[in-house]
Amino acid sequence: MKEIRGKIYGVSGPTVIASGMSNAVMNTVCLVGRQGLLGEIIRIREDRAILQVYEDTGGLTVGEEVVSYGRPLSVTLGPGLLTNIVDGIQRPLLKIKEASGGFIGKGVKAEALEMDRVWEFRPVKKPGDHVEPGAIIGEVPETERITHRVMAPPGVSGVIKDIISGNATGRAPVCVLEDGTEIGLYQQWPVRLQRPFKAKLPPEVPFKTGQRVFDTLLPVAEGGTAIVPGGFGTGKTVVEQTIAKYATCDIVIYVGCGERGNEMSEILTDFPTLKDPATGLPLSLRTVIVVNTSNMPVAAREASIFTGITIAEYYRDMGYSVALLADSISRWAEALREISSRLEEMPGEEGFPPYLATQLGGFYERSGKVKCLGPDERTGSITVISAVSPPGGDFSEPVTQASLRFAGALWALDPDLAYRRHFPAVNWLVSFSLYQTELLDWYSREISPDMLRLRARLFELLQKQSELREIIQIIGVEALQEADRLTLEVANIASEAFLKQSIFNEADAFNTFEKQFWMLKVLFAYMDNASAALKRGVYIETILDSPLRTRVLRMQNTPNDGFGKNAEGLINEIESEFSTVEEK
């Protein structure tokens, strides 16, 4: 690769102008200045290249050297990614901590993954076997939870001449082909380039978050995208973290993009001890954390979501279902805006560059369920759930609007619910899911055909609730008809017991689809039987004072296991009590 040496001509915030850079290539990286700061060429004008620099530019002077090796900004992919925590350009923060203590020193260097670490390589191919791109040649037990599948990189095929078994490091190949091509444990991939796959598959299976309001009302499909916009304090980060903890998937990539350091420290402390509900193993064994907090260099923040999604694609290619949680995409957009403004580009709406939507689309569209490269028919998926932080909580702003065009589900968070400590503070009237039609078959097949009916009733009930609330704002609750009062009571139980979910209560924090289904059964059994009793002439006070109401209201605190049986019992009690209760 050609090497180009230029000199710094100008410095403004995170951008550097380098002169003497003829023949430089767009989007390749350079080392800038005496400290060798990493930068990426984002614009070329004659012999000048404009770079965004991923580290603090303080102290750079005009005339310092800029060197380009013609390589694009890439991440290292291979075993050791899991349990790791890296910054926006994949610098390992634990190694940096060893090198420079509590604070990130200027120009600290560290290899993304430990090339000398010894892994146990178990070949699944033997000499003489043919491999094609994406073919699995061997496995490495990366963590107790995840087996790392070592694949022939895209573009590599041939007949195996030699393949090792046992201890392997990043310093030597694990497999050599007849034509001399070497395949190692590690591969490099440019972050801005989507990794190839055979075909995209339609989203027909729900991504199980374990959260009732999402799974039942506003589902996102495996391979889908959901956005979570909300003003500050509405609980975006809690939603992202809850999904990271409880979602049923193989791999979680958590991208903390321009957010708070203290929140990240919470994840870092908790994930090694918290158990994955599916396997009982520590959550950290399935998690990669990419974190570029708000005070870390802004250009690296811009790169962080691409670093995250490239790692996600790599695990998807192994055939895993991956969740990419981005918190928050607005901070990424702001980084883009900040750099664009330094380049003195013509601003679009709210100062964001006109290419905001294109770039966002490029990111969101890297989600999806795919048939992976390779001879076997394995499939993998990336589900993207990204938080959006609209200024002033106003959803009409460009980042929310652009995200809405690519998102299949909108989980809109509402400050009013948050003020009332109703979490997740999802406004179910504003939110939507475009996946419901595609997922109906699955619900009907895998849970119960009745699920669709109950779900529709719940929607109807919530709609009625909002109408009734408007009325009581004017005339007071006493003036409502008794049937409406009962509807309102049941709707309130629905929002309190079903839509609200507490992460502090073990039984409540994560719910299976089966439990969600049975909860709805109980709720509507209560509603139907109470209505019948009311029609028979029972006082509404008598109905509401029945301890059954409290039991329905607290059913979420019953564990997943055996919930169906408990629910059946409760339904029987509801039926017998309301059919025998005395009339006025």
Partner: protein, 450 residues
């Protein structure tokens, strides 16, 4: 000074606080400069941008009186640094770290870069140590923990400074001897400066206090330096001397306005309400300096105060702040008019780190449930209050009346505690007592109509 100095008498233009100088070679981004004026007066400047041999330099003391022909710019080879030592306690400095209390300069133990370095997220210690502020609305409902940044969103004329000082005074009582306070004041009036000084002296906190004060009449650029110097001092005391430092920054609105002034002088493309597009990043570089480090004893807890223009919480300053800080304490004009002190509007308040700092062994088992119940009941009471304006008190149900009376009592007794320093136990007991106004049955269905 070196014998060979790089001095450039090549100022081409002057705009607001900025000078544009040519043939400035060798100066680094962020490097400090000396601006020598015709009469020999010396001012300090900092390089904001470099392009070829041209540099944009912001002059800390302002550009008034600079003669473009006669003045010169001299890069010093140093980034902006502040001298720190234990002798800072009890002293008052300006926003550049020069003493303004009439006493001689301190003898620095260290010179720290005021911009600081970003804390490594992997080195942060999870903030979970409860700080008792003695304020019920905070301790009970929006608990503060060590290492948190919890701003006070105030409005013009609301007693944010009084509240901040009360928190400082009362936290000092509950915290151990290694507690200290750093005040960073930006663009405050002479009256406010006097108020702070007097209040800190009265509480006997001054020997454990370092103050960096930039008054409204002082140069604008100094406001950009003040919080950073204050935080450099805080990092020194917390992570080298093991203190638990409470940093009070006031008023962040004046800081942001200074930022906007520079942005507009640099002819940058303005963002929302003409504040610069990078204001989020800039504010984050201040707020994110709060925290604790693994294996270190000290901590930095931050309480920035800002004035919401026209009490608008969606204004860019409170909005961006709220997106960075771990919650917010919001003051209410309505409560203030009612005579409730502190006038904390608890509904929009939040402490994101509360759950880490409460519960068994920290405050009390059931603290979370109690706080949630108080919140829901109060929110319901506020709804009823709205209803009263439409249907009148007669139209209320018995239950509604109870919620109404709860909300009144809650404001009067729980929030409106006056100067009382309440222990966490007293706060929680009072909360439990107030909840008795609402029937037990109701509490199982909290917020059911809301």
């Amino acid at each position: 000074m070196d014998l060979i100095t790089r001095e450039y008498r090549t100022i081409t233009s002057i705009t607001g606080p900025l000078i544009f100088a040519e043939k400035v070679k060798g100066g680094g981004l962020g490097e400090m400069c000396v601006v020598r004026m015709a009469g020999g007066e010396i001012r300090r400047g900092q390089i904001l941008q470099l392009l070829g041999d041209r540099a944009i330099v912001q002059v800390l003391q302002g550009t008034s009186g600079i003669d473009a022909e006669a003045a010169s710019v001299l890069p010093t080879g140093e980034t902006a640094r502040a001298g720190v030592s234990m002798d800072m306690f009890g002293r008052v400095f300006n926003g550049f770290g020069d003493p303004i209390d009439g006493l001689p300069p301190i003898i620095p133990e260290k010179h720290l870069e005021i911009a600081g370095l970003p804390m490594n997220p992997a080195s942060r210690e999870k903030p979970d140590f409860f700080v008792q502020t003695g304020i019920s609305a905070i301790d009970g409902l929006n608990t503060l923990v060590r290492g948190q940044k919890l701003p006070i969103f105030s409005g013009a004329g609301l007693p944010a400074k009084e509240l901040a000082l009360q928190i400082v005074r009362q936290s000092k009582v509950s915290e151990a001897a290694d507690f200290c306070v750093i005040l960073g004041a930006m663009g405050i009036t002479a009256r406010e400066a006097f108020f702070f000084r007097k209040a800190l002296q009265e509480t006997g906190s001054s020997e454990r206090t370092v103050a960096f004060v930039n008054q409204a009449s002082d140069p604008t650029i100094e406001r950009l330096f003040t919080p950073r110097i204050a935080l450099a001092a805080a990092e020194y005391l917390a992570f080298e001397k093991g203190y638990h430092v409470m940093v009070v920054l006031t008023d962040m609105t004046a800081y942001c306005e200074a930022l906007r002034e520079i942005g507009s002088a640099r002819e940058e493309i303005p963002g929302r309400r003409s504040y610069p597009g990078y204001m989020y990043t800039d504010l984050a570089s201040i707020y994110e300096r709060a925290g604790r480090l693994k294996g270190q004893k000290g901590s930095i807890t931050m309480m920035p105060i800002l004035t919401m223009p026209d009490d608008d919480i969606t204004h860019p300053i409170p909005d961006l702040t709220g997106y960075i800080t771990e919650g917010q304490i919001v003051l209410s004009r309505a409560l203030h008019r009612k005579g409730v002190y502190p006038p904390i509007d608890v509904l929009p308040c939040l402490s994101r780190l509360m759950n880490l700092g409460i519960g068994k062994g920290k405050t009390r088992d059931g603290h979370r449930t109690l706080a949630d119940a108080l919140y829901s009941a109060y929110a319901r009471g506020i709804d009823v209050r709205r209803l009263v304006t439409i249907v009148g008190e007669e139209g209320l149900t018995e239950l509604d009346r109870k919620y109404l009376s709860f909300s009144e009592e809650f404001e009067k007794r729980f929030i409106g505690q006056g100067d009382e320093d309440r222990s966490i136990d007293a706060t929680l007991d009072l909360g439990l007592e107030l909840l008795k106004i609402v029937p037990e049955r109701e509490l199982t269905l909290r917020a059911r109509k809301g």
